[in-house]
Amino acid sequence: MSISSPPKWANWLIEKLCPESRLEEVQGDLHEAYHWRVSEFGTTKAKWLFVAEAVKSSRISSLTPFKRINQQLMMFKNYFKTGWRFLKKNKLYSSLNILGLAMGISFCWLAYLYADDEMNYDQYLEHHEETYRIVIDFKRGDDLHYIGGSSNAMSVQFRDKIPEIDQVARIKSDFGLIQKEDEVIEQSLIMTDRSLISLLELNFLEGAPGAFDQPNDVIISETLAGTLNLRGKAVGEILSLNRGDDFEDFIIRGVYQEIPANTSVRRHLIMSYSNYLANAPERRLTTWFDLNMNTLVKLHDKKAVASVEEKMNDLHHENEPDSEAEVQFKLQPMSQIHLNQDYGHYNGIARGGSVEMIRLFAGIGIFCLIISMINYSNFNISLYINRSREVALRKVIGAERKGIFSQLITESFLSSFIAGLLALVVLILILPLFSSFVDKSYTPGFLINYRFILGALVILISTAIISGFYPALILSRFSIVKSLKGEQKIRSGKWITQTLLGVQFILATGLVAGMLTMREQVKFLSSFDTKINFDNVIYHDYIPAEEGQVKKFMLDLEQLPEVEQVAAISGYNGTRIVSDETQFDVRHLRINKDLMNLLDIQIVDGRNFNDEITTDQTQGVLVNEAFVKRMGLENPVGEVIPFKYNKLEDPKIIGVVEDYHFESARNVIDPLVIYKSEQYPLQSVYVKVNKAATFNKERFEQLWIKNFDPFPFEYSFLEEEYLSAYESENQMMHLVGIGCVVSIFLAGMGLLGIVGLQLNQRFKEISIRKVLGASSVNLYQVFTKKYVFIVAIGLAGGLTLGYYLIEDWLGNYPFRVDFGVGIISVTIFVTLSIALITIISQVFKVVRANPVKFLRDE
């Protein structure tokens, strides 16, 4: 016999991991086999086999902690079983309950998904903490402007003269047309430095950017490569791009993996910045304060922010020693770009998010979840009365309060997880709808990331704990004797139930009031009297062509039989009026033809432009009433004003136009100067046709192609153009609307359950009242009163809550509706009628019942 023995650790493994009942046999057999094998095959093989067999004989369930859990698991198994039976026994209430929870949870998940996505823009980037955007606080007089922009000259100087700056990425946006076989694709692009590629951590699927310093270097995303049918063979291909005049050729250097959607700089076509350097006029490159691009800087160390900002301001003073404006250079952390509205999102920065929207989402999600959790608690507290005997019996057998408590918490976990599964289904079903609603591209695959899963689990588990805690606490406190005798009443439970019911109605009413006010406000804005006659006006916004071409297009349009009038404008630009007495910002507009007549804008003083009078074409201007007021002019007509733009200086007012809203009614009307003198190219065209019905799109399109090919035909009706300004309000209104319907539904469901359950326990009382001669009216009064009182308190609280929230929101609008009697009465009407219908339907059931049925057993 050999003296060698099997490996000790493997032996230990069996001892720990082999089921105790079989340990002796298994261990003995393995040892015996070991000795036999040593003599047969040698020590090495025997040892090896021993280890393999030891592992094979192990059962993970024999681990000591598992053994301990096993006993508790048995108890939990029992809890689950009774919990499940309880759910099955009360099918109606359970399904109401779980459905409600599922709705609340899925709403909350959606809100979390959205908020998490919006709040974590750019934060996946390794260097996001050291990366900043150059922004400027610009103060002139009393006006403070926040500018998210910089110039080429600044970027170059900062790069070369501030040692703390590691990399600089200038981003200049542009767009062009790509010819693909027969169709033309409009493609936005950015021109940028090589450093941006590493800052964004672009992943190249094909090729590589190389030095990326030639004017014809471009890289494209995999999506664009797919659109152009270039997947797998893009590198070295020629890309023909038209950026205004002619097609130019570019060489594709690489194809990068799609930039994640939560990135602030995200384009499908990236061009070398040297292209901009080669083509831009000298002036644009060297003027210090020509803000027309965005610049990202990466610092060596994020602690250097303050000193870099100081140096940037010093450099500004060196370059612009006699600027009147107060200019403050700042570094905006990359992660704040997305949600900060002040500095804007243009020039290559993706459309920003809105903190307001996130708050709204989160608020509504949490409201709905709270309401559904309250439903859960309330249902269970009321239902548990029926279970007091079960609890008492458990206690008699020896269960402790802790045990009862954990039983009930287990049940709430059971319900919550069933609700969670349902919520997941709901979530996946409404995700496409939701994602188009918030203009994102969420897919079910988006849910599989650790942050969402973690957050969703936290929401789910806290729902289970919070909603189950209170019922569990109350029920586990029941006295045994009273429960067994059937005398246990939930005193404190009732009080709490009613308070919670009130809270539900506060939240629901607040949402209803909010939704109604938003609706009113959006309606008010949409039907706002802008003092412009939109009828039959077609609008071509920002035509990308020379003025001569635009004028030719207008002449062509005038030939069409249905066209009544054509006019063109430059777009509403801004400048500043500076005189000895005053200085303020003013908007100015160049028009040609008779725009005032076309849009039916009233001249309240003086006269309109007259084609016969030559000075009207050069020195005459129209101003609006806001301008007159701001300047403090008594007799505006004939006044010479200190307005200066390009070559137009000190013009004379020939007339005053009514304050028409050239922008959306969301803003106050700025002072405006209108001139005919050619200081700014014409860019947009208004066409009035005699009837909207006669508008022939094809004929317009032909003229467009004749003049502006290859740019795609674009037009809109002016009224739609104005209405589209309220899209975000519309979106918010819809969101609040959905939240409002869901919360009212949930609250109603809760009320239905509670009233039903509480009345169920009073059948006897009602029967006795009836036997003694109570009339139905009397009964309705008695049993409705209490709940109406709760709802009324909820209404009062909800209206107060709604008032504060809504006033805050309405404060953003200079033109707004009031949170007044109309909205309040409609809110009260809607909420109260839903509540009353719910309550009365339940009371009706009880009052109608035959009293004999409930009195017979005694």
Binding site: V26, G28, L30, E32
Partner: protein, 109 residues
């Protein structure tokens, strides 16, 4: 007739040839007969399964030194297993009779 797995069949045969043996002895005999190593845990699993079906019975035997003083569990086959196996063997040899003339495709050339 209940279905008998091929490992079960061989283990049963080994048990029927012997009087009361333990898993390691089964493994040894298997090795001697077939020439392959059969792992002890897989014998354990097979025995346990057959015990449930009532083909095998077991009891604790005496402890030995090479087992570190642990008792061994010894197994023996039941009459039911004997019936089953003899039926199975008969059926198999009937089947085999049909294969007396091997066609050309089974012959190695």
């Amino acid at each position: 007739m209940e279905l008998v797995g091929s490992l079960e069949e061989i283990v049963l045969m080994i048990l029927l040839r012997n009087d009361k043996i333990n898993s390691v002895e089964i493994a040894k005999e298997y090795y001697n007969a077939i020439g392959k190593n059969l792992s002890v845990p897989s014998i354990h699993v097979t025995l346990k399964r057959m015990q449930k079906k009532g083909w095998v019975k077991s009891e604790f035997g005496s402890p030995t030194a090479e087992r570190g003083g642990r008792r061994k569990r010894i197994y023996w086959a039941t009459p039911k297993a004997y019936e089953l196996l003899s039926e199975l063997t008969k059926a198999k040899s009937e089947l085999w009779k049909g294969i007396t003339k091997p066609s050309l495709q089974y012959v190695h050339i």
